[in-house]
């Protein structure tokens, strides 16, 4: 039988069917909005990498300007009338015969003269203004971008990992395992998200790592649902049964055969999670349950900005808002474009 079969012809590059990722990239490149937003996101990631490596915004905690220094394009703040009591003119009363410290003044002056003091020149204006300690808002925003995006991305990866593992086992095996996981899902789903986050925050404490864990542990349900549905659909497909026939183990079928075929679905969901978690981090940090005070994120910047705004210092609020709005808009548009490119059926629906 095999003798009559013609030798298989190795497919040339042109003949080979286009892979799903190639096709998706081709469609993505045609989407101008998608490409532009990808560029913006890449710029942000370069900035984040530079900030993480200490190339920029390393000294964001330095008090380089005067307190609440206005942005440079606004110009220095007008000198305020302090309304202090007038300094009396005329000679001081000589108290040296009753002042017990009088004999030592000279000695102290001499000792003080030996020490060199440098008054750090504080700048009147900073590129995008300063906060109430005179820290540079631009550096803070760059560092804050690093922390906020880091929290969002890492939490999304944690949630994706949990959701994918549970979804894969639930969808592939079904039965008792599936029932148990469905029960777990129902338990997590029946508690409103923000409340679940609060309950976790109440017991786990504060800190950047904790925020990542809390968001990851509470945000996996959507991913679980989707991965489970995909696994149920795929586990009876022919290619999986063929893999089973040649002796592939269940784990190999799940993660070497099915997982790559549903990775585009996961990628789209991951993008949504990142945006959601970045927003959640901002609100948690504002409420004092997120990033600690010695770090900076968009949330802690906005929390400080509330008190500043009442005094008319709007620059920290504006900077944090613009950084966040630009990143989140670009990231959402990129995720939309990626979804359209990966799943053309959905194009233009949302």
């Amino acid at each position: 039988m095999s003798a009559v079969l013609p030798a298989p012809i190795a497919p040339t590059a042109a003949e080979r069917a286009e892979g799903v990722w190639h096709a998706a990239w081709r469609r993505f490149r045609a989407d101008r909005v998608g490409v532009a937003s990808l560029a913006v996101v890449l710029v942000f990631f370069v900035l984040i990498a530079a900030s993480a490596l200490g190339l920029v915004a390393k000294s964001w905690q330095d008090e380089v300007g005067v307190a609440n220094a206005p942005p440079t394009f606004v110009g220095p703040a007008p000198a305020e009338a302090t309304g202090a009591i007038e300094v009396p003119k005329g000679p001081n009363v000589d108290l040296s015969d009753i002042d017990p410290l009088a004999p030592r003044y000279k000695e102290w002056d001499e000792r003080a003269a030996k020490l060199k003091t440098t008054a750090a020149a504080k700048r009147e204006t900073l590129p995008l203004g300063g906060d109430r300690f005179g820290r540079d808002v631009l550096s803070k925003a760059v560092k804050g971008t690093q922390i906020s995006v880091f929290v969002g991305v890492l939490a999304a990866i944690v949630a994706t990992t949990i959701g994918t593992l549970l979804g894969a086992f639930g969808g592939f095996f079904g039965g008792k395992v599936g029932d148990f996981l469905e029960w777990l899902y129902n338990v997590f789903e029946s508690i409103p998200g923000i409340l679940l986050i609060f309950a976790f925050a109440a017991v786990l404490g504060r800190g950047i790592g904790t925020v990542v864990i809390i968001l990851g542990l509470t945000g996996w349900t959507g991913m679980y649902r989707q991965v489970r549905a995909e696994f149920i659909k795929h586990s009876t497909r022919e290619y999986v049964r063929a893999a089973e026939a040649i002796g592939a183990s269940p784990l190999s079928r799940m993660f070497r055969h099915i997982l790559p075929n549903i990775s585009h679905v996961m990628l789209v969901r991951l993008g949504l999670l990142v945006v959601g978690f970045i927003k959640a981090e901002v609100i948690l940090s504002y409420l004092g349950l997120g990033v600690p005070v010695d770090a900076v994120s968009w949330g802690t910047m906005l929390a400080e900005a509330q008190a500043e705004l009442i005094l008319g210092h709007w620059w920290q609020l504006a900077t944090a808002t613009v950084f966040m709005a630009v990143f989140v808009t670009a990231f959402s548009l990129m995720a939309d474009a990626a979804r359209d490119a990966l799943d053309p059926k959905l194009r233009g629906l949302e």
């Binding site: 409103p192 945006v275 609020l317």
Partner: protein, 312 residues
């Protein structure tokens, strides 16, 4: 129908048990020792031991879980550790304020988003559609926090149209004076995602054959949109409202904190900051029950809206 509801209620039991177990595990194994929290900074070992005994923390785990379960079933949620106020009393006094703010938000959000979404979906692909989509994308990317900070500053502090914050005992006065600004800000924030979501529902329906058939029969566009499309889109819309409904009982933490509204959200946040475990545990369990009941009601509503739905 009755059998269906009974079966669904019966199915809630394991889920509810899971919620209770989750809360129990979370606070028991990961939370700080309650006796240390309660005893305060200058407690002696004997005081801590006494509190442990009082709370039953020296009992074996399954006994503690049993005590906890019993307290939930008998609605005896204990007292707040911080204020010694009964948790049930806390609910009763804080819920009205939360509902006064949240119900108008949900109603206005839905009533505004539906017509906008339908209009945009109908004019799909036009300049107006794309403009609104761009506006919603940008609006979505700005944090709720910014809306509240700026809104409170501009409308209350600078322009003085509304009080900056406050609350009174009269519902009417609250609705007229204190509620409008927070509701307006929350609706502004909620409108963008709702519009986008409802637009996809309407787009989905507008592509169906029955729409073309209705048009071919010579029906007016209004009839097509409001009698056919709206009714068919009702199920996803109802699902979405059902998902939002439990939220009105938690309240918006941010709004209640910013506008000093004495609601449940602010109370929960206070409890989290004070490690007031009984309050957090009770709110979590109570909201889980509420969510399940609302889910059931939503499913029953499907049947009323769409007679083709078979409840099984």
């Amino acid at each position: 129908m009755a059998a269906y509801i009974l079966r669904r209620v019966w199915q809630m039991v394991p889920t509810l048990l899971g919620v209770v177990l989750l809360v129990f595990i979370l606070f028991h194994f990961f939370g700080a020792d309650p006796s240390v929290i309660l005893a305060g900074q200058n407690a002696t070992q004997a005081q801590i031991a006494a509190i442990r005994q009082e709370l039953g923390l020296d009992q074996p785990l399954y006994v503690q879980f049993w005590i906890y379960l019993k307290s939930i079933v008998t609605f005896d949620w204990g007292r707040s550790w911080a204020t010694n106020e009964a948790v049930s009393n806390l609910f009763a006094t804080r819920l009205p304020a939360t509902l006064t703010v949240m119900v108008p938000i949900l109603v206005l959000d839905t009533l505004l988003a539906l017509p906008i979404a339908m209009w945009v979906a109908y004019h799909r692909g036009t300049l107006a559609d794309r403009t609104i989509m761009v506006i919603t994308t940008v609006a979505l990317s700005i944090s709720f926090l910014v809306y509240i900070i700026v809104g409170q500053y501009v409308f209350a502090f600078q322009l003085g149209w509304f009080p900056v914050q406050g609350w009174s005992d009269s519902v009417w006065r609250n609705l007229v004076t204190y509620v409008p600004l927070p509701v307006m800000l929350a609706v502004m924030v909620g409108l963008a995602p709702q519009t986008r979501l409802y637009r996809t529902f309407f787009l989905d329906e507008l592509g169906h054959d029955y729409v073309r058939t209705a048009r071919a029969k010579g029906m007016t566009e209004n009839t097509v949109l409001f009698k056919h499309v709206l009714r068919n889109a009702a199920i996803p819309i109802l699902t979405n409202i059902g998902l939002a409904l439990p939220g009105i009982f938690v309240g918006s933490f941010l709004i209640e904190v910013f506008f000093s509204i004495p609601g449940i959200g602010r109370e929960v946040l206070l409890a989290v900051n004070r490690s007031d475990y009984p309050v957090i545990q009770a709110v979590t369990v109570y909201l889980a029950v509420l969510t399940m009941v609302i889910n059931l009601l939503t499913d029953v509503m499907y049947k009323i809206v769409d007679p083709r739905v078979v409840l099984k």
